[in-house]
C-alpha cells in the first residue's frame, strides 16, 4: 500500500492504495465515489469516465498513480451547493438517461466537451458523445441534454420543473444499483468456466484451491448433485448450477469459489484442475440436426411444458438435440395452398446479439436465520425466491430477495441465473458472498436466439394472403433458459398483423454447444418480424404491388381477433402505416448523391403480443395522513420508467402531484407480489394493479372521511391530500388526527390483476395487448463498397395513452437503435462453434455516431389500450420492424434481397455481385 494524494472533486484527498491499482477501483473504493462504475472493463464503454485535470480519462484503464498530484473530477464534483450543476440539470431536463449506468460518464464527457466547445452543433455533440456507450437511450435524448447543457452554461434559465429523486441520484452519482452495494464482511465469488464447447468432465480436483489462504468455499458439480433440485430453467430445467459430468458450451461454469477478495478468488480458480474429455462440438443448427449428431443431453431433462390452447400442440425434447417443438394450426392449410394463385417460399437467417447491459449481473447473498437474504440485479424477485427455495430446499419465508434498480437488462437479467450458486456459496462460506460477473462472462451467460425461418406463403391473385406455413428453428444454445417460451412466441407471431385463412407453423428450439439463448427484447418477435416483413415485401415486389398496398389489403382491423379465440386488435394498424409512410415520403424517390450510390425506401410492421401469458400482479398503495402516497409493487425499474409511471397512475387516481408519490423498494418480504418484469407488462398489467390499488385506498379514505364528515363517500373528491365535500375542503390530516390521535395513521389499498386462462386462445390465455412497430427506412447503398447508410429512420409505436411520454419515446428510440445495429453490424460472431468476438473490444455496440442522419421516433396514442387509462407498454416495440424495413429499403435501392442478418458491407457487395452475374428477371411462381 502507498499513499496517493490528489484533489478529488475540488478537495485535497490522500488515500491508501496499491500503486498498481486502477483509478476506477481507488475512486469507487477508498475514495468513496460509487458513481465510478466499471462496465466493460476494457476502455470501450466509457461508463467509468472521470476528468483528470479537466480531460476525460478512462478510469478502468488508468493507473491510480497517474492521478498523483492531479485534480480528479467525478460526477459528484459537478454539483453546485449539493444540487445538480448545469450539465446534470440539463440531463434531467432533457431526460438524457434511462437506467443511468452510463450517465456519470456521459455527463463528465459532456463537461469536458463543452469546456472546449461551448456552443456546439448537434453534429459536434454526436461525435463527442460517440465516445461512450449508452445501451438504453438511442442517444437522441443525450444529444438534447448536451445541447441544453450548453445553453444552461451560457446563461439560459433552468426549467422550473423539480427533479425526481431517481433523476438526482443518477446524475449526481449516488449509489443506486446492486453493483454499488457494499455490505460489510462480504466475500467475493468467482466461477471457473469451461474452455471447451463440449466435453465430459472426468474429474475436478479442488484441494489446492481449498488450501489457498483466504478461500472460504469451493463448490463443484458434486456439491450441487446433493441439492434437492440441482438444475434450473423456465419450463425445462436442464441447466445445472455447475456442470456435473459434462460441459456444453465455452463458459459453462464448472466450479465456484468464495474468497476474501476478488484476486484470491481468481487465484483459487487457477488452482482447480479439471480433467476434460473433449466431445465433438455441435456448433450449428445443421450440426445438431444431422443424422448421427452427438447428443448434447443423454436423457430427458426435468421440467414440464404448461398447457397450451386451441390449435397448439407442444412437445418437450421430441428428437435428439431438439429441446422443444411448438406447432400452431389454424384452418385448413392444404386446402388454402391448393387454391392459391401464388406460393412463395423463402428462408431467412437471423443472427444473435448479446444484451450488453452496462451493469454487470451481480448477486449478493447473505445467510440469515435459517435462510438467506439476497440482493440481485434480476428482473424477477419473486420467481427468484421460488427458484432458490426449490433448488436449495429452503422454506419460502426464509428466502428474502431485494431488488434495486437495474443498470439495464434487455432480458439478460430475467429468470434465475447465477443467484442460486451465489446463495449456495454464501451458505457454505457462512457469510455474505458477492458474485459480480464481468461483461465477458455476461456474453457467455445468455444471448438472443439466432435462427432460420422458412416461410411458404399462399397468396391470391389480388395479393390477399391465404395461408402460411412456417418452419422456425431457433438456436437455443446449450440450455433451455426461456427458449421454449421464445419458440411459442416466435411461432405465434410469424403470421404478423395480417388476416389468414390458415396457418401451419412449427417452431423448434435446437440445442447446440453455444451460449444459452433466452429472453431478449422482442422475444421471438424480432426474429419472426424480420422474416415475415421481409417476405411480405418480396411478395409485393414479385406481384408488382406497392409494398404499402399489399399490407393495407391484409392488415387486421381494430377489434378483429388476432387469431380465432384470442383477444382483439387494440390498435389501428393501417393508420400507423399511413403515418409512417407519410413521414418517410413513401412513393417519392430522392436523387442519389453520385453514380456509385443508390437510394431506396422500405416499410415494415413489426408485431408482437405483449403483457405476458395469464399474468398475475398485485400492488399496494399507502396514503399517509399528509396525503402523500407510497406505491409498492415488484416491477423492477431498469430504465424503462416504470417507477415514474406508477407514480403518475397513483397521482392521477388520488389527485396528487406525482412528486408526492414515493416508490417503495422491492423486497419480497414486504412488496406486493408480481410474476416478474417481462413482456412489457409493467404498464398494462402491474400498472393496472397499481391503478386498482390506488382506487382501493381512495375508497377507504372516502369511507373514512364520509363517516367523519357525515357525507356520502360518493360525493367526495380528493386533491393534494384535501377532501372536498361540496364547497368544504378539509385536510385529510385533520380528520386523521381528530380520529386516530397525534400518533397518526395511514390508509392502505390493494389491487391485483389476473389474466384468466382460456383454452380457446392458442397460448391458453388471451393476449393482454398488441404491440406494433411501424417502420419506414430510407437507405443509401454504396454499390462499390456495399456500405448501407440509413439516411432516415421513422419508427412508431402505439402507447394507447402515453402516461410518461418522454419515457415512451426513449424506449422506442433505444429499441430502434438495437434493431438498427442488428440490421447493420451487431452480432455474436460464431465460426465453427467458436465465438470470435466475445469481448467488449471485439463486439461492436452501436454508438451515437451510428444513428441515422434523421431519426424520428413517433409515439402514437391510438386510444384503444386496455391498460390503466388506456395505456399500453412499448418497451420492446422499437426493435421489431427495423431490420426488415432496412432490408426492404436495400432491395428498393439496388434490387438485391438480403435474407441474412446483419447486412454487412461484404454481404451486400456479394449480393450485388451475384445479381450482376444473373441479370435475368425473377419470374413469379
Amino acid at each position: 500500500m502507498s499513499r496517493l494524494s490528489f484533489v478529488l472533486d475540488g478537495e485535497p484527498r490522500t488515500v491508501e492504495a496499491d500503486p498498481t491499482a486502477l483509478l476506477a477501483d481507488v475512486l469507487a473504493g477508498p475514495a468513496g465515489r460509487p458513481s465510478v462504475r466499471v462496465a466493460c472493463d476494457h476502455g470501450v464503454c466509457g461508463a467509468c469516465t472521470v476528468l483528470v485535470d479537466g480531460r476525460p480519462a478512462t478510469a478502468c484503464s488508468t493507473l491510480a498513480l497517474a492521478a498523483e498530484g492531479r485534480s480528479v473530477t467525478t460526477v459528484a464534483g459537478l454539483t453546485e451547493d449539493g444540487a445538480p450543476g448545469p450539465v446534470q440539470r440539463a440531463f434531467i431536463e432533457a431526460k438524457g438517461f434511462q437506467c443511468g449506468m452510463c450517465t456519470a460518464g456521459m455527463i463528465l464527457l459532456a463537461e469536458a466537451f463543452l469546456a472546449r466547445t461551448p456552443d456546439p452543433t448537434r453534429t459536434e455533440v454526436r461525435r463527442a458523445i460517440g465516445a461512450n456507450v449508452c445501451r438504453c437511450t438511442g442517444y437522441r435524448a443525450i444529444e438534447d441534454a448536451v445541447l441544453r447543457a450548453a445553453a444552461l452554461k451560457r446563461g439560459a434559465a433552468p426549467s422550473p420543473e423539480p427533479a425526481r429523486p431517481d433523476e438526482i441520484a443518477k446524475t449526481t452519482g449516488q449509489p443506486i444499483f446492486t453493483t454499488d452495494l457494499k455490505l460489510p464482511d462480504t466475500a467475493e465469488g468467482a466461477l471457473l468456466r469451461s474452455p471447451h464447447p463440449h466435453a465430459l468432465v472426468r474429474a475436478v480436483r479442488t484441494e489446492r484451491a481449498r488450501a489457498l489462504p483466504g478461500v472460504l468455499a469451493v463448490l463443484t458439480g458434486a456439491d450441487i448433485l446433493a441439492l434437492p433440485h440441482p438444475t434450473y430453467g423456465l419450463w425445462v430445467k436442464d441447466q445445472p448450477l455447475l456442470a456435473v459430468d459434462r460441459v456444453r458450451h465455452v463458459g459453462d461454469p464448472v466450479a465456484a469459489v468464495a474468497a476474501r477478495d476478488a484476486a484470491t478468488a481468481r487465484a483459487a480458480l487457477r488452482l482447480i484442475e479439471v480433467d476434460y474429455e473433449p466431445l465433438p462440438p455441435v456448433a450449428t443448427l445443421d450440426d445438431a440436426l444431422a443424422d448421427g449428431a452427438p447428443p448434447i443431453f443423454d436423457g430427458p431433462s426435468p421440467g414440464a411444458i404448461p398447457p397450451h390452447g386451441a390449435g397448439v400442440t407442444t412437445a418437450k425434447e421430441p428428437a435428439p438435440n431438439v429441446l422443444y417443438r411448438f406447432r400452431h394450426m389454424v384452418g385448413d392449410a392444404d386446402e388454402a395452398f391448393a387454391r392459391a394463385d401464388h406460393v412463395f417460399t423463402d428462408t431467412f437467417e437471423v443472427s444473435r446479439m448479446t444484451h450488453a447491459a452496462l451493469e454487470p449481473i451481480v448477486t449478493i447473498a447473505r445467510p440469515m436465520g435459517e435462510g438467506l437474504e439476497i440482493w440481485s440485479s434480476n428482473q424477477d424477485p419473486f420467481l427468484l425466491r421460488q427458484d432458490i427455495r426449490e433448488i436449495l430446499g429452503l422454506a419460502e419465508h426464509a428466502v428474502r430477495v431485494r431488488t434495486l434498480p437495474l443498470g439495464g437488462g434487455f432480458g439478460a437479467k430475467s429468470f434465475c441465473k447465477l443467484e442460486p450458486i451465489t446463495a449456495l456459496l454464501a451458505l457454505r462460506a457462512r457469510r455474505a458472498v458477492r458474485l459480480a460477473i464481468s461483461m465477458d462472462e455476461s456474453i457467455l451467460t445468455l444471448s438472443q436466439h439466432a435462427g432460420r425461418l422458412t416461410l411458404s406463403t399462399a397468396v391470391a391473385a389480388d395479393g390477399r394472403f391465404l395461408a402460411r406455413r412456417a418452419t422456425i428453428q431457433l438456436d437455443g444454445g446449450a440450455y433451455a433458459d426461456a427458449s421454449c417460451l421464445v419458440a411459442d412466441k416466435a411461432g405465434y407471431r410469424v403470421g404478423g398483423p395480417y388476416r389468414w385463412e390458415a396457418l401451419d407453423v412449427t417452431a423448434e428450439v435446437v440445442r447446440t454447444t453455444t451460449v444459452p439463448a433466452g429472453s431478449y427484447r422482442g422475444f421471438g418477435g424480432t426474429q419472426a418480424s424480420f422474416a415475415s416483413e421481409s417476405q411480405v415485401d418480396m411478395i409485393a415486389r414479385r406481384l408488382g404491388l406497392d409494398p404499402a398496398e399489399i399490407r393495407r389489403r391484409n392488415l387486421l382491423a381494430p377489434g378483429e381477433p388476432y387469431r380465432p379465440g384470442d383477444s382483439a386488435i387494440d390498435c389501428d394498424l393501417a393508420a400507423g402505416l399511413a403515418a409512417v409512410a407519410a413521414r418517410i415520403g413513401w412513393g417519392e424517390r430522392a436523387a442519389s448523391a453520385s453514380d456509385t450510390v443508390a437510394r431506396g425506401k422500405g416499410l415494415a410492421i413489426g408485431f408482437k403480443d405483449a403483457g405476458g401469458q395469464g399474468r398475475f400482479a398485485q400492488a399496494r398503495v399507502k396514503v399517509t395522513a399528509e396525503g402523500d402516497a407510497i406505491v409498492s409493487c415488484a416491477t423492477v425499474d431498469m430504465g424503462q420508467g416504470a417507477s415514474e409511471l406508477f407514480r403518475r397512475i397513483v397521482g392521477r387516481v388520488l389527485g396528487l402531484d406525482p412528486a408526492r408519490v414515493a416508490r417503495a423498494e422491492i423486497d419480497t418480504d414486504q412488496t406486493a407480489f408480481d410474476q416478474g418484469t417481462h413482456a412489457s407488462s409493467a404498464t398494462a398489467v402491474t400498472g393496472e394493479a397499481v391503478r386498482r390499488a390506488a382506487e382501493a385506498v381512495r375508497t377507504r379514505i372516502f369511507d373514512f372521511a364520509g363517516r367523519r364528515l357525515g357525507a356520502d363517500p360518493a360525493d367526495l373528491a380528493l386533491a393534494e391530500g384535501t377532501i372536498r365535500a361540496g364547497n368544504t375542503h378539509t385536510p385529510l390530516k385533520r380528520l386523521v388526527l381528530d380520529y386516530y390521535g397525534g400518533l397518526s395513521a395511514e390508509f392502505t389499498g390493494e389491487g391485483e390483476v389476473k389474466i384468466e386462462a382460456d383454452p380457446a386462445a392458442a397460448l391458453n390465455a388471451p393476449i393482454v395487448y398488441w404491440m406494433p412497430n411501424w417502420v419506414g427506412a430510407e437507405v443509401e447503398v454504396d454499390r462499390e463498397t456495399g456500405v448501407v447508410r440509413v439516411l432516415h429512420l421513422v419508427t412508431a409505436a402505439d402507447a394507447g395513452h402515453a402516461m410518461v411520454p418522454e419515457a415512451v419515446r426513449g424506449q422506442i428510440e433505444g429499441a430502434a437503435m438495437q434493431g438498427l445495429a442488428q440490421a447493420l453490424f451487431e452480432r455474436l460472431d460464431y465460426a465453427d462453434g467458436i465465438l470470435r468476438n466475445g469481448t467488449p473490444q471485439t463486439y461492436r455496440l452501436p454508438l451515437a455516431t451510428d444513428q441515422p442522419a434523421a431519426f424520428d421516433a413517433v409515439v402514437l396514442e391510438q386510444g384503444l389500450g386496455r391498460g390503466p387509462f388506456g395505456a399500453k407498454g412499448v418497451g420492446e416495440a422499437g426493435i421489431l420492424g427495423v431490420a426488415s424495413a432496412v432490408a426492404n429499403a436495400i432491395e428498393d435501392a439496388v434490387g438485391v434481397r438480403l435474407t441474412s442478418l446483419p447486412f454487412t458491407p461484404d454481404r451486400v457487395l456479394a449480393a450485388l455481385d451475384a445479381k450482376a452475374q444473373q441479370p435475368a428477371a425473377e419470374a413469379v411462381e
Partner: protein, 292 residues
C-alpha cells in the same frame, strides 16, 4: 560504458497466468511493479535492467494485462521531462512519446505545419480516447487496425529511439516491425516521432475500419510521389509508392500499385477477399479526391 544486462535474479518476464475463460478484466491482472521515470535515460535503463514496458496513456498496456499476461515491470513515462511536448527540429515536427492524439490534432504547430495530417488526426478514435491515448502508444501497441502507423507511414514519418544498449536510433515508421516479428524496434524506447513538414496533400478513408483503412499522400514537389498505405489487413500497414506525372486514371493507378497486395493475414469476420478489393476501391477514390 558497458551495456546494462538484466539482473540474473529476476524472474522470467513477461509474466503470464493461466487463462481463465471469461475472466479477462482488472481482477485477472497479474502482479506487476510500477516505476516512474524522470528522464528517457532512466526509463530506458529500467527497460533494459528489468525488462520493463513503457506506459504512456496506458489504454493498451493495462487492458492487455487484464488478459492475465503482460510485463512484470512497467515504467511510467508520464513524468519524463519533455515527453509531452511538440517541438520543431531540422524542419520536422517532433512529437514526444506522451503526446496524445488530441494534443497533436489540436496543436497550433501541427495545424500550421502539417494541416492535412492534423485534420485527419482529429477523426481518430473518440474524444475520450484521444485525450488519453498517445500516438507512440498507438504505434507501439502493434494492433493492425490502429491508424497512427497508416497515417505516419503515408507522410514518411520516422521514430527516434533509444535501443536497449542505450544507443540512439532512427527508423521510418514504415519499417516498424511487429511486436514478435523480425524487425523489432519494439524493445526500443521511442523518444520522439519525427513528422516531416514537407508540403503534401493527404486523403484518408477510415469508413471501413476495423476491416481496413487507406491513406493516400501526394507530394507537391516537382516530382510528384504518390503513397498509398493500407492498414488493417496485415500486422503492419502495406506501403506502395510511385512517382506520377498526373492522376488522370485513379482507378488504374490504384489497381496497379495494389496489384500484388498480399492476402490479408489479420482475421476479420466476413469474406477474406472483400478487404483486398476494398483497398483498391478506397485508394482509387482517394486518388480521385486528390486529383480534384
Amino acid at each position: 560504458m558497458p551495456t546494462p544486462q538484466p539482473h540474473p535474479a529476476l524472474p522470467a518476464r513477461p509474466v503470464a497466468l493461466p487463462t481463465l475463460v471469461g475472466h479477462r478484466g482488472r481482477h485477472a491482472m497479474p502482479p506487476f511493479t510500477v516505476h516512474t521515470a524522470a528522464s528517457f535515460a532512466e526509463a530506458r535503463r529500467l527497460m533494459t535492467l528489468r525488462r520493463a514496458r513503457p506506459l504512456a496513456g496506458g489504454l493498451d498496456l493495462l487492458n492487455g494485462l487484464k488478459t492475465g499476461a503482460g510485463p512484470a515491470d512497467i515504467v511510467m513515462l508520464e513524468r519524463v521531462a519533455g515527453a509531452a511536448t511538440i517541438a520543431i527540429a531540422d524542419g520536422d515536427l517532433l512529437l514526444g512519446p506522451m503526446v496524445t492524439h488530441d494534443g497533436f490534432a489540436t496543436s497550433p504547430a501541427a495545424r500550421a505545419r502539417v494541416p492535412a495530417l492534423a485534420a485527419v488526426w482529429s477523426e481518430i478514435a473518440n474524444l475520450r480516447i484521444r485525450a488519453q491515448g498517445t500516438i507512440a502508444g498507438n504505434l507501439l501497441a502493434g494492433m493492425p487496425a490502429y491508424e497512427a502507423a497508416v497515417l505516419l507511414a503515408a507522410v514518411d514519418a520516422s521514430l527516434d529511439s533509444l535501443a536497449p544498449d542505450g544507443t540512439s536510433a532512427r527508423f521510418p515508421v514504415a519499417a516498424l516491425g511487429t511486436p514478435t516479428g523480425a524487425a523489432r524496434p519494439f524493445d526500443h524506447l521511442v523518444t520522439a516521432i519525427r513528422v516531416p513538414c514537407t508540403p503534401l496533400r493527404l486523403a484518408y478513408d477510415r469508413s471501413l475500419r476495423p476491416a481496413l483503412s487507406v491513406a493516400v499522400a501526394l507530394t507537391t514537389r516537382l516530382r510528384r510521389t504518390v503513397s498509398i498505405v493500407v492498414g488493417g489487413l496485415h500486422p503492419r500497414p502495406i506501403v506502395r509508392r510511385a512517382h506520377v506525372s498526373d492522376l488522370d486514371a485513379p482507378g488504374d493507378l490504384a489497381a496497379r500499385l495494389l496489384a500484388d497486395l498480399p492476402l490479408a493475414t489479420v482475421p476479420f469476420a466476413g469474406s477474406p477477399f472483400y478487404r483486398e478489393r476494398m483497398a483498391a476501391v478506397l485508394a482509387a477514390r482517394l486518388l480521385a479526391e486528390l486529383a480534384r
